[in-house]
């Protein structure tokens, strides 16, 4: 090697931490606190400067002013009244649990490292970690660092899925999740006449938040409609499933939540329409209007039903896609399960992947909502503690059995949602040949369809032939869109298209940071003295 080459510094003796948790949403918080309670040194990392993830963003935003920068600890506000979910609704069970976990974080239960990107993960990584450890490359505060951990719990959440349409790259068109986060964290609203479109129950809280004047919101914002791609029977089946399970507290909670959201929309006089698809976003330089059409049973627009709705903001979302790139990079075996949102790592009953010591929890293990995430986070933490000798096999088994019914119910409900509100097969019909499908590299659907016709029938082959997936998002947005496009053109299942490969860095890292590696900083031992000495 040449002189002056800044290779990674040798890892210090022993692991940087016992358990490293990636993602501080509900699953990651639950995992980190449970692992700390089991007497382990825990490091909790999140790209965001605040804990809580998308789900608990309102609470962490309220706490933002109290951020103690010297210790990076959060203190949190009470989730009472409208301050929590900000929509004037009482908090859900999961929100209450989540808030309690944020409180544990601010009390210093774990070594919490906000603003930290994990850009590589592996058992075979370079520098090779000591036997049985996983190697984790991070980027924080302008430098890179290589950590090692006895166990890693990936709770990296999920991202939104999309169905493109002409004009979806116009300023004024944004993801429903981004609009929600702006409102939750910063009290910002996306426009004065807001249209919300897509599929699934996640559109409801977004609509309610944007429609509710909650003090922080800009006056004069009006949600002019919620356009749901699914047809009424999907909602009726959802409701029927919840009613069937109404004896269970969790299902009662979910039903109550849905009813409260729908009531709030009705109060705000927001029209909610089933079986609608956006066919184009129109505007000169920014969004001015949206054309929508009724759809048939397959989700195809019905000719002659189009109408144009004036709007300066369009929030779109088609369910969630698990963030599994780090698991894929580490070599974890995975499978395609539409009921869980797409590609997910294969796990055993304790959420351990095929890579020893690597666990997944929350949406990363399959999209199933906050209740499932909280339960899975705790289970994965105890399984990691068992692997590290802090929890007995019998205790782990007891934990699993004790929470099994509730978790199964949450997963069942998640699967129902993911299935009923998946982008319908006919939704491809709105993707005209000049619609961009890869926003980063500006590749249009026509070029992709031509490449598919010429034999590029996997994501990998498409990437080589057309540049899709080669931009900054590394195919996170366009991957599922392209897989459905291939499936539609070929008459095959989306999994036949495979996945984009994953290599480090999983997200862009500045050169300055890669060129300056700092020594691994071990987790601060925050355990009571009797635990630490055990």
């Amino acid at each position: 090697m040449n002189a002056g080459v800044a290779g990674p510094l040798p890892a210090p003796q022993g692991p940087s931490t016992d358990v490293l948790v990636v993602g501080a949403g509900p699953a990651g918080l639950a995992a980190a606190v449970a692992a700390a309670d089991a007497g382990l040194r825990v490091m909790l990392l999140d790209e965001s400067p605040v804990a809580g993830g998308q789900y608990l963003a309102a609470y962490s935003a309220a706490a933002g002013e109290h951020l103690d920068s010297s210790h990076q600890h959060l203190s949190t506000s009470q989730p009472s009244g409208g301050s929590g979910n900000g929509a004037g609704l009482s908090p859900t069970r999961a929100e209450r649990f989540g808030h309690a976990l944020l409180g544990r974080l601010s009390a210093g239960a774990v070594d919490w490292r906000p603003g930290t990107l994990v850009w590589s993960l592996g058992a075979e990584a370079d520098p090779a970690p000591a036997c049985g450890l996983l190697s984790v490359a991070i980027y924080a505060h302008g430098a890179t660092e290589h950590l090692s951990a006895g166990a890693v719990i990936l709770a990296a959440g999920a991202r939104e899925g999309f169905v493109p349409f002409p004009g979806w790259t116009l300023p004024g068109v944004m993801s429903a999740g981004a609009a929600q986060l702006l409102a939750k964290r910063h009290g910002l609203k996306p426009g004065r006449r807001v249209l919300i479109a897509g599929s699934g129950p996640l559109l409801l809280p977004v609509a309610v938040r944007l429609a509710t004047p909650d003090g922080a919101g800009a006056p004069g914002t009006r949600v002019v409609g919620v356009l749901e791609a699914a047809h009424l029977p999907a909602w009726l089946r959802c409701g029927a499933s919840l009613l069937a399970g109404v004896a269970a507290a969790a299902d009662r909670d979910r039903l109550g939540e849905a009813v409260r959201y729908l009531a709030a929309l009705a109060r705000a006089r927001v029209p909610y329409r089933f079986g609608r698809a956006v066919t184009a976003a129109l505007g000169d330089g920014r969004l001015e209007a949206v054309t929508v059409a009724r759809t048939d049973a397959l989700g195809r627009p019905i000719p002659g039903t189009a109408e144009t709705i004036p709007a300066d903001a369009l929030c779109i979302g088609f369910g969630l896609v698990p963030n599994v790139e780090l698991a894929q990079l580490a070599g974890a075996a995975s499978l395609f399960d539409p009921a869980r949102g797409g590609w997910v790592p294969e796990t055993d009953a304790f959420l351990e992947t095929s890579v020893p010591g690597l666990f997944v929890a929350g949406e990363t293990a399959g999209v199933a909502g906050a209740e499932a995430a909280l339960s899975q986070g705790r289970l994965a933490a105890l399984a990691a503690a068992c692997r590290l000798g802090r929890v007995s096999q019998a205790d782990l088994q007891r934990e699993r059995d004790g929470s099994a019914r509730e978790r199964a119910a949450a997963l069942r409900f998640g699967a129902l949602i993911n299935t009923l509100f998946a982008p319908p097969s006919g939704c491809q019909a709105v993707i005209t040949d000049d619609t961009l499908v890869c926003r980063c590299e500006e590749v249009a659907a026509g070029e992709v369809r031509a490449a598919i016709a010429a034999g590029a029938v996997t994501l990998d082959a498409l990437k080589t032939r057309t540049r899709v997936g080669q931009g900054p998002c590394q195919g996170r947005t366009c991957g599922p869109i392209l897989a459905r496009l291939i499936a539609a053109e070929m008459g095959t299942a989306p999994e036949a298209a495979g996945r984009f490969g994953v290599r480090p860095p999983v997200k862009p890292v500045p050169f300055a940071a890669l060129a300056s590696t700092v020594p691994a900083s071990p987790a601060r031992d925050l355990r009571p003295a009797r635990e630490a000495g055990r």
């Binding site: 040449n2 075979e124 370079d126 900054p472 290599r503 890669l514």
Partner: protein, 407 residues
């Protein structure tokens, strides 16, 4: 006879990388009926995991230089004659010297090349800064080779294949060759695939680092090993770099067979305003993962020479397996022990550059029935007898090259 229902085939080319594509291109130009099979998709192996530089100055021997000159001249022709764009640009390349000693050594090298007709000029100080403003100001200087060029290897592979198809070639993607069937006199009779046999008069094995898998099925060992090269891609940096860059120790790192990760910077602009930055050279079997060590090492080298990159990001990375050969010359031509079998591999990092001349030599052997110009330089049988394993060897001819004794 073909069991796959395709028209009669004269030659089966195994491998849809740039070398296989060039073979198909020149074989069809000679009027032969060609069927190319590729187990994944065109350019799915090394040809999409490389840079696109077409260089003269890094060639380690007169023989290698002769091949490069012939091939680069063919690329220039092809850039005009191929219907599809290949992003061919001939804007020269800069060889960077950090120290006065390195510059002196680079100038000696430039003088040697000048005697071979490879022109260059030395740039230093203000002239260098004006020529390439983003370079670190403390460099001793650089040699500018105006004849160097670059292209997009994926586009070039596709353009060659499409041209071959227009001349009647059949391209089967997703079809793997699992073996070869020999007929009377040990002559190659057919390529065996999962979908049946494809009978042919001749078979060209152009499967890069995977070539040995196929030739082993008829007892022929190729002395070709995978050598991993890692490359990273920057975020968009429009206008940052005007010419491809190579660190002056790059040639040494290519020629060295040392197994350790050697990093000498090579930088190239793409049509998408990103830079490709390489590269490492490492024997690591068939592993195609990218190590974080390689990212750190390449990033550090890149920032050393292009300080403004510190504000850009590493967007992604990839690794390709270069087919290394013991004397750094490709193996192109007939396998004497198996009549009808030809190989075209072993180009290591020069496969993009040497693809056209390789295709021309293969077409000369098969269509012309005799050794074309330059063919002696790359005859596979120069390695005959160096391996004791296997039932057959590469053949018994007289080697045109002195044995290097490194294998």
């Amino acid at each position: 006879m073909s069991h796959l229902g395709a028209p009669q085939t004269d030659v089966v080319v195994v491998g849809g990388g740039i070398v296989g594509a060039a073979c198909a291109y020149f074989l069809t130009a000679s009027g032969l009926r060609v069927r190319l099979i590729e187990r994944d998709f065109p350019a799915s192996g090394t040809s999409r995991a490389c840079d696109g530089l077409l260089l003269h100055h890094d060639k380690g021997s007169a023989a290698e230089l002769a091949l490069a000159r012939a091939s680069n001249a063919l690329w220039e022709e092809l850039s005009r004659s191929l219907d599809a764009g290949i992003e061919y640009r001939r804007q020269g390349a800069l060889v960077l010297a950090e120290s006065a000693e390195a510059l002196a050594a680079a100038q000696v090298r430039a003088l040697e090349l000048d005697r071979e007709g490879v022109r260059s000029e030395t740039l230093a100080g203000g002239a260098l800064r004006e020529f390439e403003p983003a370079l670190a100001p403390d460099l001793a200087g650089a040699i500018y080779y105006p004849g160097e060029a670059q292209l997009d290897a994926r586009l070039a592979t596709r353009a060659l294949l499409e041209a071959a198809q227009r001349r009647g070639a059949t391209v089967d993607a997703g079809l793997a060759a699992t073996g070869l069937r020999l007929g009377a006199g040990g002559r190659v009779a057919a390529v065996v695939t999962a979908a049946g046999e494809i009978a042919a008069e001749a078979v060209v094995c152009a499967a890069g680092v995977w070539s040995a898998e196929l030739t082993r099925s008829v007892g022929v060992d190729l002395p070709v090993r995978p050598r991993k090269g890692e490359i990273l891609v920057t975020s968009r940096v429009p206008g940052l770099l005007r010419h491809p860059l190579l660190e002056s120790s790059y040639t040494a790192s290519v020629q060295s067979a040392a197994a350790a990760t050697g990093v000498a910077l090579v930088a190239e602009m793409t049509a998408g305003d990103t830079l490709l930055l390489g590269s490492t050279r490492q024997f690591a079997g068939f592993d195609r993962s990218v190590s974080t060590a390689a990212l750190h090492a390449i990033a550090a080298r890149a920032v050393r020479f292009l300080p403004a990159l510190a504000r850009a990001s590493v967007m992604r990375s990839y690794a390709g397996l270069r087919p290394w050969s013991p004397d750094h010359m490709p193996l192109v031509g007939p396998v004497a022990a198996v009549p009808g079998l030809f190989v075209a591999t072993g180009h290591e990092g020069a496969g993009i550059c040497l693809a056209p001349v390789t295709g021309q030599i293969i077409a000369g052997w098969i269509a012309g029935g005799r050794a074309p110009a330059l063919a002696e330089l790359v005859r596979p049988e120069r390695f005959a007898g160096e391996r004791t394993s296997g039932e057959a060897t590469l053949g018994e001819g007289t080697s045109p090259l002195p044995r290097k004794g490194r294998f």
